[in-house]
Symmetry: C2
Subunit: 387 residues, 2 copies
Amino acid sequence: MASRDVAIVGAGQAAFGEREEGARGLFAEAVRECFASVDKGVSPGAVEEAFIGSMAFGGGQLGNLGPGLVEQVGLSGIPVRRVENACASSSFALRDAYLALRSGGVDVALVAGVEKMTDLGSERQRYWLGVSGDTEWERLAGTTFPGTYALMARRHMHEFGTTRDQMALVSVKNHGNAALNPKAHLRKAVTKEQVLRAPMVAHPLGLLDCCPVSDGAAALLLVRGERAQQFTDSPIRIRASAAASDHLALHDRPTITTLEATVRAGREALRQARLKLSEVDVAELHDAFTIAEIVALEDLGFCPKGEGGPFSDTGATQRDGEVPVNPSGGLKAKGHPLGATGAGQVAELWLQLRGQAGGRQVSGAEVGLAHNVGGSGAACAVHILSR
Amino acid sequence: MASRDVAIVGAGQAAFGEREEGARGLFAEAVRECFASVDKGVSPGAVEEAFIGSMAFGGGQLGNLGPGLVEQVGLSGIPVRRVENACASSSFALRDAYLALRSGGVDVALVAGVEKMTDLGSERQRYWLGVSGDTEWERLAGTTFPGTYALMARRHMHEFGTTRDQMALVSVKNHGNAALNPKAHLRKAVTKEQVLRAPMVAHPLGLLDCCPVSDGAAALLLVRGERAQQFTDSPIRIRASAAASDHLALHDRPTITTLEATVRAGREALRQARLKLSEVDVAELHDAFTIAEIVALEDLGFCPKGEGGPFSDTGATQRDGEVPVNPSGGLKAKGHPLGATGAGQVAELWLQLRGQAGGRQVSGAEVGLAHNVGGSGAACAVHILSR
């Protein structure tokens, strides 16, 4: 690999779910698994710098969380910072590590994401979830995230004829995949009827259209291309790291059926990778709500605008379909520990591209795409990886 | 300038102090001044990416703060993230932008820091300040930041004979400098007697040994070296960007009279810059408490360990001394809006190295050093700049 290439040589995840461990324990678990996954081994002392994505959900260690985490795994001393972009925090941590490695100033970097969400009561959870949306016009007016995405879903139904059945199929697929993922929060298949009959959260989104509140952590070991062979003969190359932002509040955007940040980041990622979307073999998309996967399919260009519902309906996004989406189970069923989600998507792709994804393996996957959104679309990062 | 060099071509600050504006307004004020400071002008559209340091003190917009800020200055759309390392947040944002520019993937980046602190009542302020120290063993046991630094001060007095008079002189010097800085929070000179007789906060630190709680923002425009001439004929070059971490809790460190993160980052910065400390003409050091400036002088190597007090006593750190320290007034008197402090230090050096620091100008300053600490030393970043 060329010196300006960046390779992922290790990946680990603390299982997503309602966990007994706190943020520090979850972080250490993911990092230990990451280190253990390095084919030729790695000494923690090789890590030169760390980039950690987290919302610091619930408070506690809102300042200097980075140093407080790396000392758990014997890395006290190295430069570390927390990177925050709500639900996309660790994808931006990944981007910053990627840029640092490409600068030549850092050879080996740890990227991690962590979130401990379940310790809070539901009122505090609502507060901490709300603060990733627009505070002034949305949260303080009573809008929650299911409410925000419900607005998008209803408009999408109105403009394009998308149906609840089509959304439900996203949930059925992702739950089915999660059932095969030992790191997933909701490891159970659901039927379309169960999704449609689940308690309503914010019409048209029922309980099974919404991701759960999860604890979790994920870690990735990145090295400069020229160092990759030292750690593994099967590195995964980061072909593109692209990102964009958008207005926080929905009412400031020209449309709510497109996430413009996804469109921009997706386009830029393909340009960087010099790939066509048709060359992507597997994708982890940000499906905090079922409608979000449908909109992401359109915004990234897997299908034309408005056709995400029918496209899903054809089975194209199934594990054996044209473009398998969320083999991990996605945010919907694998779980969504905010700051850990992005790094977790990439950890899944790392397994998929190395053929190590067990029962949920996408056959012959060589190119993977991870799409991670902050809040209701105010931030987006897209990474493309390949063998 | 070479293509891998990174130049600062603009800098701006919202005055530190108790301000009416919220975080968004303070940020916009600093960015507008930054853009206006660019000698040959800049169109906001030139900015490709933004790195924003903030604790998001007080909450409100704890998630996606970055997108919520850049949309205030017409930059919605660009990639942006919040970088957090407590009081050193924007120095790490600066480091990340520096690495991004050196990667070649970004040509023009905005670095900013912002904090709105004064809107909270004192109890909430104490919580938000406390969460940058160790939560489990320090904050929940009742330790505050003045208490933490008081422990360091008392131990320093015990080990090295440092006196309250010596600490007081740090305050006198920095207040004297702040009186000449229109952006400073506490623009008034104080006498040694006033410092010594001020109400005790945590012995031996009195009120005038402690930095104030301030609102503020600062912004820097960074470009790749080869682009610098497009913006100014007087760019300031970033010669080094170094950082380190340490254990969060004081009791985990082998000594509390040295901040090991400062030692490491300082040494690495000089190595990168290929400079001797004696070549530094002006320094902005992290003086959240007077003892902190004394310890930083030692840890960076301006004087031997234990001699920071006597060294200050000689007048060496005065504006016309051997190594002028904190001509801005420092955290002590310019103010300490956590996330804004690091970028503010660099904005001061930018003025100093361009000879634009007015009444507090350090004569003939060509090389400047900025030293910014997170919490009680869990994180540290050191940057060296030159004309």
